[in-house]
């Protein structure tokens, strides 16, 4: 993932509405993998961008289905 991709995701999720629910697991898992990676190729710029994307994603969940998907996912981690 690149900084550009992360920023694009961050913008996209804010306008995705309820369509977000279906993709939530895929998107969040991809983002979390970056935050967890320990290798040096992940620079600080990308980490910041990913953190912002995660914040944007979590605050954009707007319906019961999305909430349930998120809770199920996080409780399973």
């Amino acid at each position: 993932m690149t900084v550009f991709n992360a920023r694009a995701l961050a913008s996209l999720v804010t306008v995705a509405g309820s369509a977000l629910s279906k993709r939530l697991t895929v998107v969040l898992t991809a983002l979390v993998k970056i935050t967890e990676s320990t290798d040096d190729s992940t620079d600080d710029g990308l980490r910041t961008a990913v953190d912002e994307a995660v914040q944007a994603l979590l605050s954009s969940i707007s319906d019961a289905e999305g909430l349930n998907t998120l809770m199920l996912l996080l409780l399973g981690w």
Binding site: L28, V32, T35, E36, V54, Q55, L58, S59, I61, S62, A64, L67, N68, L70, M71, L72, L74, L75, G76, W77
Partner: protein, 352 residues
């Protein structure tokens, strides 16, 4: 069910059944779970109250994780969660919270996440809400939650929270007249655990604890409450130098109540003498002996007599001979069935 997607209620049930059993293998992922939930609590405006109980279970049990990063983030997320809950909803969480604390770690071994500096502060709002404003069940569980936390937290970490817990415990216990025995027992249990685990820290509360225990020894409703109070009082007397006033009070209680309640006073007296050992003064000893002697002079309820023979004499060695004499003369003077069992038990004790 006409082809509709599963209702939220059923999804929540499934979630409890499936997810709570399993945690992710990789510690990094467990960290991420807590971290993301913390962020969610901070940024989202959605009402996630349906999932609160699951998160309480998940986060509190994660505080016993072997990896430091996991229990630290779990605690942080739990702290954020508790702060995000409206005050009126806190007491509803006390029952699941207590169940989770109880099944996390083992008594006597500090759980790492509970022993972080100030960690208990996150538990305080829920427990105090349950203890002071909850239903009977919630009050009972709040008291047990304190007891379970004290058993699972290092002394340094629990220290700043002894006052916030003990104060309300005693306050609720003094108005306990209105509560069912289960609540009173739980309150006494929590106070006793504190005495057992952290006696030095509850020292400022000794006078209030003593009053509470003595009062509960005469609880008319339940023998369980009276017995618990008697045990706790005995525990307290290990740390008290002046025990004679308590002994006098208990003897007075044993004389002025009916046999059933008086039996509990005798039981308490035995625990007190056992706990206080040589701190019991000569006069108080004499008075205890007299109480037992008096018990032989008239016919009492079996419970009372049994307690008198079974508990007090072994604690006061030089009483044994006197005891044997009394016992024999008593059995001779009464030719009904009960004293024989009584005499038999007494003889066994003397023979020991």
């Amino acid at each position: 069910m006409d082809g509709e997607p599963l209702s939220v209620g059923i999804k929540v049930l499934l979630l409890i059944a499936i997810c709570n059993r399993v945690k992710h293998d990789a510690p990094e992922r467990r960290v991420s779970g807590s971290k993301l939930f913390k962020i969610f609590c901070e940024v989202s405006e959605l009402d996630a109250s349906l999932y609160r109980i699951d998160w309480v279970r998940q986060l509190v049990s994660s505080m016993d994780d072997s990896v430091e990063a996991v229990y630290v983030t779990a605690w942080n997320a739990f702290d954020t969660l508790v702060k995000s809950i409206p005050k009126d909803d806190l007491d509803a969480l006390v029952v699941p919270l207590r169940r989770t604390i109880e099944s996390t770690g083992v008594p006597g071994v500090p759980v790492p996440g509970f022993s972080l500096p100030k960690a208990i502060s996150a538990f305080v709002p829920i427990i105090i809400a349950g203890l002071t404003t909850g239903s009977n069940e919630q009050r009972e569980n709040a008291a047990y939650a304190i007891s379970d936390l004290v058993e699972r937290t290092s002394e340094d970490a629990i220290k700043p929270f002894v006052v916030p817990f003990t104060g309300p415990l005693i306050r609720v216990a003094t108005q306990a007249g209105t509560f069912p025995p289960a609540v009173k027992t739980a309150l006494l249990c929590a106070m006793e655990t504190m005495l057992l685990r952290i006696p030095a820290l509850v020292k400022p509360f000794f006078p209030q604890l003593q009053r509470t225990f003595v009062k509960s020894t005469s609880d008319p409703a339940s023998v369980v409450v009276r017995t618990k109070a008697a045990q706790a009082l005995g525990e307290l007397m290990k740390y008290q130098l002046r025990v004679d006033p308590v002994v006098t009070e208990l003897i007075a209680g044993a004389k002025s109540n009916n046999d059933v309640v008086a039996g509990s006073f005798v039981l308490a007296l035995s625990y007190v003498i056992k706990g206080a050992r040589e701190n019991v003064g000569e006069k108080a000893r004499e008075a205890s002996l007299e109480l037992v002697s008096d018990a032989f002079k008239e016919l009492h309820d079996g419970y009372f007599s049994n307690l008198c023979c079974a508990y007090l004499p072994p604690l006061i060695p030089r009483f044994r001979i006197l005891f044997a004499i009394h016992c024999c003369s008593f059995c001779r003077s009464l030719s009904i069935r009960e004293p024989y069992g009584f005499c038999y038990q007494a003889c066994i004790i003397v023979a020991r």
